[in-house]
Point group: C2
Chain length 201, copies 2
DNA sequence: TCGCGTCCATGACATCTGTCATGGGGAACT
DNA sequence: AGTTCCCCATGACAGATGTCATGGACGCGA
């Protein structure tokens, strides 16, 4: 019997997934959590075999939870399900030791299968997401460029970005200019959106 | 027995919700659809009593489907469930004749209850979403301002917005300036994000 | 040690944007 | 008929932004 921890902020989805997983004879949902912190706390108590975690949650995101679980509970395998899978997430997730990565568009059968695969030490990444991640390629941005571009994402003016990054406005403009060139965008906002779509920031 | 049509692009969620609803004795999921178009086509064939539709789907969004259903199948009550409820959606949905509006954070119990409420001609709107919609208030933007701001959302430069809106660049700047003033933002990108958060565009 | 790339910064310049004043046309309401 | 608001447009100006050249500091690998 595989003991599962389920974390998703959407009560309806979480309950429904629990119901589906429980239909399988060899699977048992032993705990549920609505936030990342709750998932972590619960996991420390119940020691699940597999943690199925939603990528976007109110507090910590799925990858952070996975990272914490990897060090806290090395025996617990982690997999992530998500609605909006961007290439960068997958990369970060795998780096965090996640063993399975699925969009919510898969069927319940697949979910159950992947839970079993992950439990026996295997890995599974949704082919479509994997293809996307590969086609997105590696980020051409330097770390600083990525930092600055991330701050530019919300539409803040350069002065504010400079303050938040503790840089001079001129330097910020240089990085942004460089990033705009690399992304082929026509201004920093477009560049920021592009980079986020590619999962670079 | 209430006959339900379920539309959601996420297979996992759809299947899980179907499983949950089917646990109720008086509810029966008679059809499922993964896209808006599919939902419409299916509804015309099976004539469900209640349509439970996800707000965001690849092609038509939930509100458009609801609108089409209202004219096509007047006897079919429509309700919408959503992950990310922005105030504007709720307003548009109610205008389209939707009888129920729920976030996916509710429990399965609530979902089933609302299905029954809607079926008997009642209405139900999630209290939290309703409060948000009220606090967001009506849009202070004129129709043109909203149009232009929407085009500005993707970070396009003014010239492109002008082309796409068939306006002169000067006019576009005036509308954007006005919108920036009304939203209290410091530039059009921030204004666009703000307006979208409020559901105004 | 040298070269290389990254990080940080400055200054100068052209262009883009935000703001304001102004005005004509049209629809709605008094 | 007059008032008011929205739509569309133009022009002018200040300030923000994008681009480019330049240079020093630092760490890393050859």
């Amino acid at each position: 019997m595989i003991r599962i921890l389920l974390a998703d902020d959407e009560h309806l989805i979480r309950g429904a997934m629990a119901a589906l997983l429980s239909l399988e004879d060899d699977l048992q949902v032993v705990a549920q959590a609505a936030t990342g912190a709750e998932a972590l706390a619960t996991a420390r108590v119940v020691h699940p075999d597999v943690a199925v975690i939603d990528l976007q949650m109110p507090d910590l995101d799925g990858v952070s939870v996975a990272q914490a679980l990897a060090t806290d509970l090395p025996t617990c395998r982690t997999m992530i399900v998500t609605s909006h899978g961007r290439p960068g997430h997958l990369k970060r997730a795998l780096a965090a030791g996640v063993r399975g990565f699925l969009p919510k568009t898969v069927s319940a059968d697949v979910l159950a299968t992947v839970v079993r695969t992950v439990h026996t030490g295997g890995r599974y990444v949704d082919p479509a997401l994997a293809a996307e991640a590969i086609s997105a390629g590696d980020s051409p941005l330097t770390p600083r460029e990525a930092d600055v571009l991330e701050l530019a994402l919300e539409g803040a003016p350069i002065d504010e970005i400079a303050r938040r990054a503790s840089l001079s406005p001129g330097t910020v403009r240089n990085y942004l200019s460089s990033a705009v060139g690399k992304t082929g965008a026509s201004n920093r906002h477009e560049a920021a959106r592009f980079a986020r779509a590619k999962g670079w920031i």
